[in-house]
C-alpha cells in the first residue's frame, strides 16, 4: 500500500552530502514530497527530513539505500501520525478595504500570526501540520493569495526514542 512516510536522516555535516541523498532519490526513481535540512545542535552533524511516498517495499529500499551512503549515520522512518510533525508556511495576501477584516478573521481562526503589513499586502505565518496548512491555503485562495511558501516538514519521534548518536 502506497503511503506517505517521513524519513529522518542524521548525516555528517560535510559538502556534498545533500546531493548524495537527492541523487539517490532521483537515480532510483523515488519521490521527494518535501525536504528540509539544517545543522543539529552539534554543527558537525545535520538533520535531513524527507517526506516521500511508497509501498512497504519501496520504503524499506529507501531506508537501506540511504544507510549505504557513507556520511549517513542514522535513518529513521517515522510513521505518519505516530511522530511529532510540524511545518511553517508563510503566506502573502493582497488586501483591499473589503478583504482586510476577512483576512484577519481567517488568520485568527487558523492560528496564524501576521508578520508584516503594507497598504497592499499582509504576510501571515502559520506553524502547524499538513491539514492546518492546507486549510489556511483553501481559505486564503478566494481572497487572493500572492505567495504561499511551505518550509517542508520536520518531525521527531514521540516518547523515549532517539535518532541522535551520542554527540559527545
Amino acid at each position: 500500500m502506497v503511503a506517505n512516510h517521513t524519513i529522518s536522516i542524521l548525516v555528517i555535516n560535510e559538502a556534498g552530502v545533500l546531493s548524495r541523498i537527492v541523487d539517490l532519490f532521483s537515480g532510483r526513481g523515488y519521490n521527494i514530497e518535501s525536504l528540509t535540512v539544517a545543522p543539529t545542535i552539534d554543527k558537525n552533524y545535520s538533520r535531513v527530513t524527507i517526506v516521500t511516498q511508497g509501498d512497504d517495499r519501496v520504503i524499506e529500499q529507501i531506508n537501506k539505500q540511504l544507510n549505504r551512503l557513507i556520511p549517513i549515520i542514522k535513518v529513521m522512518d517515522l510513521p505518519t501520525g505516530d511522530a511529532i510533525e510540524t511545518e511553517i508556511v508563510l503566506a502573502k495576501v493582497y488586501v483591499t478595504d473589503e478583504t482586510r477584516a476577512e483576512i484577519i478573521k481567517v488568520a485568527d481562526l487558523c492560528g496564524a500570526r501576521v508578520l508584516d503589513i503594507t497598504d497592499k499586502t499582509y504576510t501571515l505565518q502559520l506553524v502547524g501540520d499538513d491539514k492546518q496548512i492546507r486549510a489556511l491555503g483553501e481559505m486564503l485562495r478566494p481572497i487572493g493569495v500572492k505567495e504561499f511558501i511551505r518550509s517542508g516538514k520536520v518531525a521527531l519521534s514521540r516518547g523515549n526514542q532517539f535518532a541522535n548518536i551520542n554527540l559527545e
Binding site: L24, K64, R68, I70
Partner: protein, 573 residues
C-alpha cells in the same frame, strides 16, 4: 619539526600506497597530474603501467583485483581522462570489485570556473562508485586514502574515487599514515544473526526440494570451501550465477551449472520447482530471475548478503541474513556438525528430488548447425579441453562468446573467470586480461572475444607488447554483433539493424603491434594455433573465422518465466 619532514601531496600519495601494500598501478598522465608523475619517476616502490586509454586502466585494475583478491589502483588525469574512466568505475561498482581510482582535478581556486580540462568528477561518479572524495587540504590526504582503501575492500567491495586538485599534489604536509579509520556512518555487518542462522538451517533440513544459488559474494568473501562443504553435508544441489562461476567445483556432486537467461534448463527448472531457495551473495538480477512475478512463487527464500539493499529488493525473502557469506556459512557448518543436523534430512524426498533433476538433465540445448565455416561452440570446446589443465585465467568480452564460454568452460576454483556481469561492458575483457597478467604472471591468460567487442579496446595490444603481457585473444569472428543479432532474429523479424560489423585483418593488426596473429578457418588448425599461442613470447590474436548465425541456447527471453526455455531452433520447453 625539520624541513625534511614535509612532503608534497604527490609524495604523500605514493607513500600511502606503499603503506597499503600497493605494488602496481595502471594509469595515463595528463596536465594536472604532472606533479604526481614526477613523483612516480623518482621512486621504485610502485610499478606504473601506461595504458592507451583511461577506460582500459580501470578495467585492468579490476582484472588485477579479480584474480588476486587485492584492491586495484588506477590513476588518470582530469576532464577527459577522468570521464573516460567512468565506464570502468561503473563496471567495478556493479560487479562489486574493490578499486581506488585517483582522478586529477584543476586547482582548488579554479574549480567551478569551467577551467581547461575541468569535469565535476564528484558529481559525475556519485551514482557509479561506492564513495568519492574531493581532497581540499593536503593534510587530509593520507586519512582519505586510508578510508578509501577501507571502504573499497570491506562490506560489499566497490570502487572509491579520490579527486585530486592540482595544488594538493604540490602543497606540503607532514606524513603519518593513520592506523585505523573512524567512519561513524560506515559499519558493515559481518556476522549473521544467530537466530536467523538457526531458522535457515531448520528450513534447509526439512526441505524436500532445496537448491543453492551461489553468487559473486561467495567468491568475494572466499567462502567457496564452506559453501561446498555445507551443500554436500546437507545434500543440496548447487547452481551459480555468472559472477558465482567457480564457487562450487564443476566436478562436485549435485552440480547444476549456471542458471538464468542462458543457464542450464535443469538448473532453471530446479530453482522454479524448489520448495526452498538458499541464495548466497547474489543480487537476484533480472538475468537470473526472469519474470519476477513467477519466480520463487511457491518457494521459501533464504538469502545471505553483506549488502542489506540486495535483500528483498527484487525477490521477497523469508529468512534474510545480513552478513559476510564466509562467516555465516562457517557458523552454519559448525551448527550442522555440532547438532548432527545431516541426520535430520528427509533422504527419501531428497532422492526423489535428485532423480527429478537428473531427468531434466536429459533436456540439453541443441546448437544450430549450418554453413561450412567453423562453429564457435566447437572452437570454444577445443580451447577448453586443450587448456583446462594449465590453470588458465579466462576472461571474456560481452555477447554470445561470453555466454558460450560460461556454458562450456568448467572451473574448479574461483578467481579464474573474469567477465563483466552487471554492467555488461563490451571492451572489458581484453584490458581486464591485461590486469590479470600483471596480477598472476605465472598463469596463462586467455581472453575470449567477439569481433565487435575486441575492437572496443584493441589499442591495448601495444600496452601488452610493451610490458610482455601475453594475453591470448581468441576472437570468435562471425561478422556480426552476435547477441544483438540473435535478438533481432527472434524478436525483430531478422531486421539486422546495424549489427553486421566489419573488422580489420586481425593477423596483420597483431603483427603491426609486434604481436602474433594467427587465422584459423578449419577445425584441424585450432590446436596448432593454440600451441603456437601458448609458446609465444608476445601477446596473440587468434582470428577464428566462425559461422555468422549460431545461437546461444538455452535461452529464456527477457521477461519470460525462468523455466520457459528455448533449447534449440523451434523448440521451446
Amino acid at each position: 619539526m625539520g624541513k625534511n619532514d614535509m612532503y608534497t601531496g604527490a609524495q604523500i600519495l605514493l607513500k600511502s600506497l606503499v603503506k597499503e601494500g600497493v605494488k602496481e598501478i595502471f594509469g595515463y598522465p595528463g596536465g594536472v597530474i604532472i606533479p604526481l608523475y614526477d613523483a612516480i619517476y623518482l621512486q621504485n616502490d610502485i610499478k606504473h603501467y601506461l595504458v592507451r586509454h583511461e577506460q582500459a586502466a580501470i578495467h585492468a585494475a579490476e582484472g588485477y583485483s579479480r584474480v588476486t583478491g587485492k584492491c586495484g589502483v588506477a590513476l588518470v588525469t582530469s576532464g577527459p581522462g577522468a570521464c573516460n574512466a567512468i565506464t570502468g568505475i561503473a563496471n567495478a561498482y556493479y560487479d562489486g570489485y574493490p578499486l581506488v581510482v585517483f582522478t586529477g582535478q584543476v586547482g582548488l581556486d579554479q574549480i567551478g570556473n569551467d577551467a581547461f580540462q575541468e569535469a565535476d568528477m564528484i558529481g559525475i561518479t556519485r551514482s557509479c562508485c561506492k564513495h568519492n572524495y574531493l581532497v581540499k587540504d593536503v593534510k587530509d590526504l593520507a586519512r582519505i586514502i586510508k578510508e578509501a582503501f577501507h571502504i573499497a575492500t570491506t562490506g560489499k567491495p566497490g570502487p572509491v574515487v579520490i579527486d585530486l586538485p592540482k595544488n594538493i599534489l604540490t602543497s606540503k604536509a607532514t606524513f603519518s599514515y593513520p592506523k585505523k579509520v573512524e567512519l561513524v556512518g560506515y559499519k558493515p555487518n559481518y556476522q549473521g544473526h544467530p537466530l536467523q542462522i538457526i531458522r535457515a538451517l531448520e528450513l534447509l533440513c526439512e526441505a524436500k526440494k532445496p537448491v543453492i544459488i551461489s553468487g559473486g559474494g561467495v567468491l568475494q568473501s572466499g567462502a567457496h570451501k564452506e559453501l561446498t562443504e555445507l551443500a554436500q553435508l546437507l545434500q543440496i544441489p548447487v547452481c551459480h550465477t555468472l559472477m558465482g562461476t567457480g564457487t562450487y567445483p564443476a566436478d562436485g556432486p549435485k552440480y547444476m551449472g549456471m542458471l538464468g537467461m542462458h543457464g542450464n534448463y535443469w538448473a532453471n527448472n530446479a530453482v522454479m520447482k524448489a520448495d526452498v531457495i538458499f541464495a548466497v551473495g547474489t543480487r537476484f538480477n533480472d538475468r537470473i530471475t526472469g519474470c519476477l512475478k513467477t519466480f520463487a512463487k511457491d518457494s521459501r527464500v533464504i538469502h545471505i548478503d553483506i549488502d542489506p539493499c540486495s535483500i528483498s529488493k527484487n525477490v521477497k525473502v523469508d529468512i534474510p541474513i545480513v552478513g559476510c557469506a564466509k562467516n555465516v556459512l562457517e557458523a552454519m557448518l559448525k551448527r550442522v556438525k555440532d547438532k548432527n543436523l545431516e541426520a535430520e534430512i528427509n533422504t527419501e524426498a531428497r532422492d526423489k528430488w535428485f532423480a527429478k533433476i537428473d531427468e531434466w538433465k536429459q533436456k540439453r540445448a541443441i546448437p544450430r548447425v549450418e554453413g561450412t565455416k567453423l562453429s564457435a561452440i566447437t572452437v570454444l570446446n577445443t580451447i577448453y579441453e586443450y587448456t583446462k589443465n594449465l590453470d588458465p585465467v579466462i576472461s571474456t568480452e560481452v555477447g554470445q562468446h561470453q555466454m558460450w564460454t560460461a556454458q562450456i568452460f568448467k572451473f574448479n576454483k574461483p578467481r579464474s573467470f573474469v567477465t563483466s556481469g552487471g554492467l555488461g561492458t563490451m571492451g572489458f575483457g581484453f584490458p581486464a586480461a591485461m590486469g590479470a597478467c600483471a596480477g598472476v604472471p605465472h598463469r596463462p591468460v586467455i581472453n575470449i572475444a567477439g569481433d565487435g567487442s575486441i575492437q572496443m579496446n584493441i589499442q591495448e595490444m601495444m600496452t601488452c607488447v610493451d610490458y610482455g603481457f601475453k594475453v591470448i585473444n581468441c576472437v570468435m569472428n562471425n561478422g556480426y554483433l552476435g547477441m544483438v543479432r540473435q535478438w533481432q532474429e527472434k524478436l525483430c523479424e531478422k531486421h539486422y539493424s546495424e549489427t553486421k560489423i566489419s573488422s580489420p585483418d586481425f593477423v596483420k593488426l597483431a603483427e603491426s603491434y609486434g604481436a602474433l596473429g594467427i587465422r584459423v578457418e578449419k577445425e584441424e588448425e585450432i590446436i596448432p594455433a593454440l600451441e603456437r599461442a601458448l609458446a609465444s613470447k608476445t601477446p596473440v590474436i587468434i582470428d577464428f573465422i566462425v559461422e555468422s548465425f549460431e545461437m546461444v541456447y538455452p535461452w529464456v527471453l527477457a521477461g519470460q518465466p525462468l523455466d520457459n526455455v528455448i533449447l534449440s531452433d523451434g523448440c521451446e520447453v
